[in-house]
Symmetry: C2
Subunit: 144 residues, 2 copies
Amino acid sequence: MKITEARVKATLRRYGYKLTRQRRSIIKAVVSSEDRLTPAALYNKLHQDYPDIGLVTVYRTLGLLDNLGFLCKLHTGGDCHACTIGTPEPHHHLICSGCGKVIDFFCRSMAELEGNLAEETGFTIKDHLLEFTGYCQNCRKDLM
Amino acid sequence: MKITEARVKATLRRYGYKLTRQRRSIIKAVVSSEDRLTPAALYNKLHQDYPDIGLVTVYRTLGLLDNLGFLCKLHTGGDCHACTIGTPEPHHHLICSGCGKVIDFFCRSMAELEGNLAEETGFTIKDHLLEFTGYCQNCRKDLM
DNA sequence: TATGTAATTGAAAAAGATTATCAATTACAT
DNA sequence: ATGTAATTGATAATCTTTTTCAATTACATA
Ligand SMILES: [Zn+2]
Ligand SMILES: [Zn+2]
Ligand SMILES: [Zn+2]
Ligand SMILES: [Zn+2]
């Protein structure tokens, strides 16, 4: 399910958070982007249109969105401190190492693999992380 | 294939690196550990037996082992700046969030999934990251 | 619409993690 | 044993992220 700006704003309101100009601009940028985002990159981008926005507020708002379950953390495709908008429904990510584009995908066989692993190792498995990286069609053209 | 202390030392020698007392102690610790290791944790552990070892040398030696292909990077089970000894053969990791124990496993179906993803998305896929986290038998006991 | 108040903000400082610098030390080929 | 280039640890520098705090602002209420 796609997350909309309106839904994020409504959730913030419901929890009693104020909708400041800074938060609105960050939410708009995060929701409308299909790319992997880092705090610094997001700050640089936003700072052009909203010169009065601070890096600290970007960190704080990303932390807030994360706590509310609106962010997926990404570890590959660059450094490993990036994120992208996403639902808490189980899914995985395919990330372009060139432009940062993120594609969500689902994988039915993880539950089975998890079951096998648990049986073989005696572990109680709580979570997993699966990411693919590569180059999207556009970026592959650029490489040639 | 399990990586031995002797093999790591031989590789260092072959590339012309000197086998200092510090490097030997770090190699011994890394090779003999089945756990996720961070530079700081490794430093604290080693510093007890070798008080003259510096944190910088731990960073440098881990970097060296990584360049030589002896380390696997780990992103889950704690912060995401840890590693463990491992071969470059494709494999994945199951990590205990309690004690940091790392179990290697293989998964035949990743190639197929990668092929499907590439076809559906037009991406040229280069790599992937798969980690499971949970609690090992010992740590599960401790939680009860 | 004006007001009160608690949440939010940005600047600056602090805290952590990692890397670069450099003189002293050390491994190891000879 | 000696010479030399690699390595080391202390220190400083760099980056990223968090904390602090006075000033500002959103928004409920009147
Ligand atoms: Zn990571
Ligand atoms: Zn791309
Ligand atoms: Zn491994
Ligand atoms: Zn454990």
